[in-house]
Every structure is written in C-alpha cells, then in structure tokens.
Symmetry: C2
Subunit: 131 residues, 2 copies
DNA sequence: ATAAACCCTGTACCCTGGTATAGAGTCAAG
DNA sequence: CTTGACTCTATACCAGGGTACAGGGTTTAT
C-alpha cells in the first residue's frame, strides 16, 4: 500500500534525487515519515510525479507546473479567482495546440512533397509558426 | 533588404547573443559577411529564428529543433528516409496534442466544479496525464 | 548477527540554453 | 574627422532542472 522513495522512483520512472528535489520545490507534499526518518508514499504520489513529468515534456516549467497543481489547493482562494486562473491556463494551452498543429501540417506537407518527387527547394516547416 | 545582427535581434525578438549562439549550434546557416566581418541577414532569418523560439516554447529541445529543420536539408538523404523521420515527428506531435487536451479537459472540469459550489476535494488535474 | 541493499542530509557538480563582459575594430551623423 | 552606437571574437558567467557523492544510519535476507 505504501512504498519507499526507491519504489516510488521506479514506479514513476524518475530518479530518486528528482523526487527529493520536487519535495524541496514543493511540487509534491511532504510525505509521512517512519520513525527512522524514511519517507513513506501512497499511490497518489505516482500520479503526481507522472503529471509533472508529462507537463514538463509539454514545455511547462516547474514554476508553471506548480501553478497548475496549486490552482485548487488553497480553500481560501475565491472561486472566481480559481476560475479566472484556470481560464488563462486554458487559453495558453489552446495556443500551444494550435502551434503544434501548424508544425504537424508542415510535416505532412513535407512528407507528401517528398512522396511525389522530392523537389523540396523551399522548406515548408519554416512556414509553420511564423508569428 | 538585408540587416545587421542587431536589427535581426530586434525583429525576431531575441538577444543578439542568442543569434550568435544559434549560429554556433548550427540552427541557422552562417550568414554572409561584409568585408568588415559584420554579419548580414535576409528576412528569411527572421522566420527561422521565430520558428526556433516557438518550437522551444512547445517543449522541443534545440537538438529536436535541429532535427526538424534539417529534415529536408541534405539532398543525399533518400526520400523514404525523410518521410520516415517526418512521420516519427508527426506521431510525437500527436502525442503532445493529446496530452495538452487532457490537461485542458481537467482545467475545464475544475473550472466548472468551481462554478457550481466549490467542493473541490479531489484534484481533477491530477487525473490528466496519468500514465 | 552480519552483509547487501536501502535511506537520510548536505553539498557539490553537471547539462542546457542562453547572457554578459572585455578588448578591439567599424560605421554614420554632425 | 571625431564621437557614439554598433559589431567582432573569446571567454566567463548564470538560472533551471536535475544528478552524484560523502558520511552515516536502517532494513532485510541469509
């Protein structure tokens, strides 16, 4: 049911040191400790760390991840505020998706051009993401 | 028509040093030089640098950006190879888009839950990106 | 009851992606 | 023809996000 830091690291696919680092950065809550001082984790922590891992791959900084994770944390924050912040994040995400779709379109174009006859003088990839 | 490195930096919205750095990393071609040694850039470079900037925001490393940009570069590379690489990139991008949509869904859920009555005991954001 | 395999804290180090600075040359406006 | 703004190379430095010891205590399997 519970696990040590080494087991958590294996399950979540990260280095042990990374977990301690995230704890210092307050990206994950301080876990319960045994009398010996050993950290003890529940399965919830696996989710949380995987979330961080994925969000990072998507280009969010640890600071941004912190913002995402703490959106719902403080019960004192008024709802209207939480909603506002969530909506800001949402439009940020929409923007990212749009940009990724542009790059994808360019790659498809490149791939097709290639299939026909390879006369790729211009680079369709650059057309993506121009401003 | 052509511009100096300072003008390019301003147009593309980056630091001058960043441009020289990208040149060393071979993310942009070596520009033409005046007799004095000054670099001279065409408008093409603005596009290229903005592409790099955006791709970075989307979580691509400079190494990955290099791969994207050089996909169509070497005329010796056989078409089949270029297509294969493009397709790998495309499915990588699809994966990213899917993950972003998951996060977005969670944020929407959070925002809605908040709107109704604020009893947000569980964190819907964590549900996104599990696995 | 003793190794092997963990875990603890603290500190130092590493890589990526820049950014700054020094010391010297160039350009252009008055 | 000079002065201020720009550029050059080379080297040093910085922040973010980890990763790796060192020196010392736990756990567990035999």
């Amino acid at each position: 049911m519970t696990m040590t830091i080494g087991q958590l690291a294996k399950k979540a696919g990260v280095n042990i040191e990374t977990i301690r680092y995230y704890e210092r950065r307050e990206l994950i809550p301080k876990p319960h400790r045994r009398k010996s001082g050993y950290r003890e984790y529940s399965n919830e922590f696996v989710k949380r760390i995987q979330f961080i891992r994925h969000a990072k791959e998507l280009g969010f900084s640890l600071k941004e991840v912190h913002e995402l994770l703490s959106l719902r944390l403080d019960p004192e924050t008024p709802c209207s505020e939480v909603r506002k912040r969530a909506e800001v994040k949402i439009s940020d995400i929409d923007e990212r998706i749009k940009n990724l779709q542009q790059i994808k379109k360019s790659l498809l174009k490149l791939s097709e051009a290639c299939q026909r006859s390879c006369p790729i003088s211009e680079c369709p990839i650059l057309e993506a993401l121009e401003k």
